[in-house]
C-alpha cells in the first residue's frame, strides 16, 4: 500500500484518468473531489461494505423449502 501526505489543494493522479483533489479539511473531516471516468464506481467504504455483506448473506443457500414457500406467494394488489 502507498501512503502519501498531501496539502489542501493538492492532487493525486491515478492511472492517467482519475484525479483526486484534497478540497478542504475541518477537524476530522477531509473533503475530496474525485474526477474519474463514469464507468469507475465510487462508493463510501462503509456503504459498500454493507452491500457486500448483504449480497453474501443473500447468496448463502436458504433452506430447501424456500422454493415452495415462494411459489405460493401472489403479487399484492396495489
Amino acid at each position: 500500500m502507498l501512503a502519501l501526505t498531501r496539502k489542501v489543494g493538492e492532487r493525486l493522479v491515478i492511472d492517467d484518468n482519475i484525479i483526486i483533489t484534497i478540497v478542504d479539511t475541518k477537524g476530522e473531516n477531509i473533503r475530496l473531489a474525485i474526477e474519474a471516468p463514469k464507468e469507475i464506481k465510487i462508493y463510501r467504504g462503509e456503504l459498500y461494505d454493507a452491500i457486500v455483506a448483504e449480497n453474501k448473506q443473500a447468496a448463502t443457500p436458504a433452506q430447501d423449502g424456500i422454493l415452495d414457500v415462494l411459489k405460493d406467494i401472489k403479487a399484492r394488489k396495489p
Binding site: I51, V52, N55, A58, I73, K74, A75
Partner: protein, 152 residues
C-alpha cells in the same frame, strides 16, 4: 444455452433471459453473467442464477409489489451507462435475503438492481441520501396475512 444450477439442476436458458453485469455485483466482482429466471406467473419473486457458478443463485423480488411507495432517482451517469430512455424504462429488482425463519426474509432496498431489458445489461446501484436500508422485511406480519395464502 444449457446451464448448471445447484438449486435448479440443468436448465435451458434462452438468450433473452441472460443478463450481463459489467461490474459484477458488490462482493461478486467476477460474476458478470446471470440468467433471470421468473417463478410462477403473478409471482413477484424471481431468481438470478450465475452462469459461471452453479451454486450462486440470488432470490430477487419486484420491490414495488411489496413497497408501493418505494422510489429513488437514477443518476444521469447510470442512465447513460445503461442506455436507458423514456421509451426503454428499466426493470428494477431487489435482492432478497432469507434467514433460517423464512418469514423474516428481507429485501435490499438500498442497492436495487437496474436492468436494461433491451440490451440486457444490469447494474446493482447503491442509493445515496436515502432512508432505505439493506433489510426491509417483506412479511412484517408473517406469511398468514398474505392474500391468497391461508394460515397453517
Amino acid at each position: 444455452m444449457l446451464i448448471r444450477s445447484v438449486r435448479f439442476g440443468e436448465i435451458e436458458v434462452p438468450e433473452d433471459s441472460q443478463i450481463h453485469f459489467p461490474h459484477g455485483l458488490p462482493g461478486f466482482p467476477k460474476e458478470r453473467e446471470f440468467a433471470y429466471l421468473p417463478s410462477a406467473p403473478d409471482n413477484p419473486f424471481a431468481f438470478l442464477q450465475s452462469l459461471a457458478e452453479p451454486n450462486l443463485t440470488f432470490i430477487v423480488v419486484d420491490p414495488f409489489a411489496f413497497f408501493q411507495d418505494y422510489k429513488f432517482t437514477l443518476d444521469d451517469q447510470l442512465v447513460s451507462e445503461l442506455g436507458l430512455t423514456d421509451a426503454n424504462p428499466p426493470h428494477i429488482i431487489s435482492i432478497v435475503s432469507v434467514p433460517a425463519n423464512s418469514e423474516e426474509m428481507t429485501a435490499n432496498l438500498l442497492a436495487p438492481v437496474i436492468i436494461n431489458t433491451q440490451s440486457r445489461i444490469a447494474i446493482q446501484m447503491v442509493l445515496e441520501k436515502t432512508p432505505y436500508t439493506t433489510r426491509h422485511r417483506l412479511f412484517p406480519n408473517g406469511f398468514d396475512k398474505q392474500p391468497g395464502k391461508g394460515g397453517k
